[in-house]
Amino acid sequence: MLSLHHYLILSGILFSIGALGVLIRRNAIVIFMCVELMLNAVNLTFIAFSRYLGNIDGQIFVFFVMTVAAAEAAVGLALMIAFYKNRESIDVEDINLMKL
């Protein structure tokens, strides 16, 4: 029987992969996509719990997460474009104003 655990483990795997991507990639857009991946993993958890606990609140949260993700996409991509205009690159290693 398909249980909550299945979903949660899948979600954990996806989350870990997303996190790995965030940590190892240099391309800002790819990192951004990995963040989206992590968000999705969380969404999956929300919905799974919502289903198994019979509580709709989780799904509403997913809704909000999506909104945030959309807003994030808009602003984040705008930032990247702005940065690219400036530096001709969106390599995160070039975002190093704080470096000594």
Partner: protein
Amino acid sequence: MFDNVWLIPLFPLIGFLINGLLGKKIKNEAVIGGIGTLAIFGSFLVSCGILLEMISRAPENRVFEKVVFTWIHSGNFKADMAFLLDPLSCIMIMVVTGVGSLIHLYSIGYMHGEEGFYRFFAYLNLFCMSMLLLVLGSNMLVMFIGWEGVGLCSYLLIGYYFHKKSAGDAAKKAFVMNRVGDFGFLVGLFTLYWWLGENANVWTINFMEIKKASHFLPYGGVVTVATLCFFVGATGKSAQIPLFTWLPDAMEGPTPVSALIHAATMVTAGVYMIGRMSFVFIKSPDTMMVIAVVGAATAIFAATIGTAQNDIKRVLAYSTVSQLGFMFLAMGTGAFAAGIFHLMTHAFFKACLFLGSGSVIHAMHYALHHAHSHDDAQDMRNMGGLRKSMPITFITFLVSTIAIAGIPGFSGFFSKDEILWQAFSNPYHGGLNIILWGIGAIAACFTAFYMFRLVFMTFYGDCRISAKAKGHLHESPLVITIPLMVLGFLAAVGGYIGLPKLIGELFGGIPNYFELWLEPVFEMAQEYGHQYAQSGGHHNPALEWGLMGGSVLIALVGISIAFTMYVKNTDLPGKFTSTFPALHRAVYNKWYIDELYDFLFVNPCKALGNFLWKGFDVLIVDGMVNGVAAVVKGWSSAFRYSETGYVHNYAFVMAAGTVTILGYYIFR
């Protein structure tokens, strides 16, 4: 009249303020000089009034104290701005204002056309005010204002030609050496104040109150310490060994300054101070001996240097140091009245000598200037034969020289002879007396020698400047010669108010008026002195006559040597020099005392200062401070590597941290 004593220092102060603040705008030399001279002359008139009133009073009513206002009052310490009139200060104000007035008058002529004419008169007035405060002060602190004030004026006036480096150096040297003395004065003051307060509960610095409480003071002990400190102050101010080297250098100042400050008044402040506190000094036999020995040593030491100098003013300067030595010798042998007497006569003849030399320099300068010659106007080797062109200067100069040499009939004879006699016969120093007398006599011989050497080199022989310049030589104007004549007259007759008893008896018992006058001042000191005096002096008239004759003989010997060497046989000095080159060099270079002081004090101080600054301050203290900073910086720069500035490093650390923390909570 006594109540108006505050006017005496006030007049010069007003003169100083007017000339100092407005002098630049006035511009008119006659007005500036007039204000300056009138100011001090006003003080002179007041002083005369005070003198007359004092004479009219009975001897026991001659002490008067005038409090103007309370200056400092803190706890049990109180210092009033107050003036003390007694026979001693009366003599001093007469000398200061009298000689001061004449020198002011003289300066109008001498300083004519100098840049900063007003400045000169302002300083001169300020000096007179300080000097008057010094002699009139009724407590040690008011005296100290004057004490430092005259030092300041001396500094200002020596540095009058401030664009000359030598003048600046000399001024600084004078002030600093005076400061060393002041240090002694202060410590002495503290010691006396503290000891009297602590042990006798007399918290005072007032002379009269100290005098009243002086019976509390022990013989020797703390008094020796205090008086020695005071004596250090006196050596600084009065140019005694070891602090005498500033006085010859002080001749960088204009000549009237040398006459007023460095001959007649300021340098005698130390003598005056000892006289003022005679009742304290006498209580320490050791100090008295130190004073006598230092005085005698200075007298002979400076006299030897005086024999080899060529600068006319420097000879006079060393002569001053030497004569001051005589005064201290008198003070140290308990002959306070004789010391003060010599102070007074010395003020007359030395002021006259300096002013005379000024007159000579003035003339020489004028002549050389007009002949476009760059020869030194003060070098006696350039002079000679001036007696023809400058008769008044010559006569007054000669009179004063005779006076200083100690020829009977002139003022210097009476005072110097008195000192020598007292040195020989005083009851305090036992076997040392004869040595003191001997040194004094030899110094007197030297004095006669170098003074007449000066006269012969300057006024006799042939003129050694170019013929062109010779034509320009002429007698100085009246404004210069009048003070010379007055001072010359005083130098001749000033001694008769203090006729030695021996001579007085010859003329029907004329008393020694001077000693009589000062008797109430030094009475107490004599009383204390008798406590430990040894079996009285040898009051043997025959011996006194003999010594008197001896000292005259000594003076004549000095004069005749000078006559032989500088008039009759002018090759002799050169031969002498070539026979004893080392001796001559040493004497000519003032026994290398300046170099010795440089080596002993100045250079080590500089080196120490430099070491402390660069070695200690910068290297050690700052090094430690900066070292701490460097250590912190080193650590932080090591830690800095954890902050790479790359976003993913922060992300990584954040993730790892989160995982660690969560892991801890989940698996604990």
